[in-house]
Amino acid sequence: MRRDPLAHALIRTVPLLLLGMLWQAASSAGLINTAFLPSPATISVALADLLGGGEIGRNIFITLFRAGTGLLLGAVCGIWLGLMMARSLKFRAWVTPIVGGTYSLPKSALIPLFALWFGIGSLTAICAVYLACLLPMTVNTFQGVVSTPKVLTWSAQALGTSERQMLSRIYLRHALPDIFTGLRIALGFSFVLAISSEMIASSSGIGKLVFFYGENGAYDYMFAAIACVIAVAFLCDRAMLAVSGWCLRWHESAANARTA
């Protein structure tokens, strides 16, 4: 049955509100040491103060720029790599061991090295994000292309599709659902890597801000900044879902995407 979407969204916030109220009650009752974990009320005051100033917006914008640039570069290169791996056996033989060998490496371990090479700032963060996004994009694109059914490629050939056109007309279209799966994973990675890179090697960005408040014991402001990160990341993920839902409206998954 269809429900009013607004009412539906409100219902979904109920568990979050309950958790906040429980947290507040525990703080007020003195069960939690507010020196280490500030109450939601104090965090709200800090949040209002943060949102009043321009600092939080500026730093979120910087972080979004780093995450977005790294994601975009990683996606473009990853799609290309995945396509090449799927279409050329020689290329696959060379690249597969490299992908397999580096897949499980936590990319954040490389941040100090990047900081050494590229210094403190955007380039280090973008490189870390790029590397973290590259592999999920490569692997998912590869999967999507190699799983193209033979009868689809044959039909396309019999209808006059040239070898060049096959890439954009058939293989990439067929891989699109997998590419979006990769993009959603990469989007999550991009925030993690941008923020941890800023904590280690940056003088700006939301990661640096959170780290700075933590260092100085301003935990209410630290939590307020984290709340902003959560909100921005959530909105980005929803935007990604909306775009992929529209692009994949032809796909079998479109019928039940509403409930996801």
Partner: protein
């Protein structure tokens, strides 16, 4: 004028071996076949006998030993002159009904006005008005196969290659689709090569039926079918001529299937 001497499709000593991990499997051996212009030829045989392999070879999708000639020239790969319809429809799921039918015309750079006319006409032919902007996932099996046939016809191929085209449909839909195919063929007289495991379907539709042995496939027997296709289905089905050929072909296929069984038994 139709060329009465030179066959439209000719296979000379065509053979196909598949390389698997363990050994090379012979799928098709020493096959000779000639299909005349405007002829409807069906290939029937037990499952797994290499019937589909034959269609894939004529389609130009699989390389094979021997020679495949179309209009007297050896084929070098797939071509728009040979339209193919697969059992699994093989529609492009990201394109609408209209987009699928227009696909081949777009690849050949047909002007938009002419392309749209052809697409609208074919949508009418397959009776899918009102479904033009649906995606394949929203269609039934019968509707998908209609779109697949229309998509192939849009390029106006001289040859139709049908790989168990109605195998995935329910019995009633299959009969309707057979009648539609028969009507299309009577109107256009295209050269058709069809693979099926349905003996009745083969007799109802074709001029000539080739029976294939179990793997490695070989054409073992041939039957001519002389029926007046303009008569309604009921009349054809109840006629002695139809049932005589049907029984002959059925016995021949059954012999091949049983031979395969006894060969596989320990």
């Amino acid at each position: 004028m139709r060329d009465l001497i030179r066959p439209k499709i000719e296979l000379r000593q065509v053979a196909k071996t598949y390389a698997t991990d363990r050994a090379a499997v012979l799928a098709l051996r020493n096959t000779d076949l000639a299909v005349a212009d405007g002829e409807f030829v069906s290939i029937v045989g037990p499952s797994g006998c290499g019937k589909s392999t034959l269609i894939y070879i004529v389609g130009g999708f699989l390389p094979a030993e021997g020679e495949v000639l179309v209009d007297g020239r050896a084929i070098t790969g797939p071509g728009t002159g040979r339209g193919v319809v697969f059992q699994e429809y093989a529609l492009f799921p990201w394109l609408t009904v209209r987009g699928n039918i227009a696909y081949g015309l777009d690849r050949q750079g047909v002007p938009a006005v002419q392309r749209n006319q052809t697409v609208e006409r074919l949508i009418g032919v397959i009776g899918l008005q009102g479904f033009e902007d649906r995606f394949p996932r929203e269609l039934s099996g019968g509707m998908k196969q209609r779109v697949a046939i229309a998509r192939t016809l849009a390029c106006e191929p001289a040859i139709l290659l049908l790989d168990e085209p109605f195998g995935a449909l329910d019995a009633l839909t299959r009969e309707i689709m057979q009648d539609e195919l028969l009507r299309l063929w009577l109107e256009s007289r295209k050269t058709v090569l069809m693979v099926t495991h349905d003996v009745t379907e083969a007799v109802y539709l074709s001029n000539r039926i080739c029976v294939m042995s179990a793997r490695p496939g070989r054409l073992v027997e041939e039957f001519r079918v002389e029926l007046d296709r303009t008569k309604p289905r009921e009349e054809i089905f109840l006629s002695d001529a139809f049932n005589r050929v049907r029984n002959q072909v059925w016995l021949s296929v059954r012999k091949q299937a049983l031979a395969a069984e006894s060969k596989n038994a320990p």
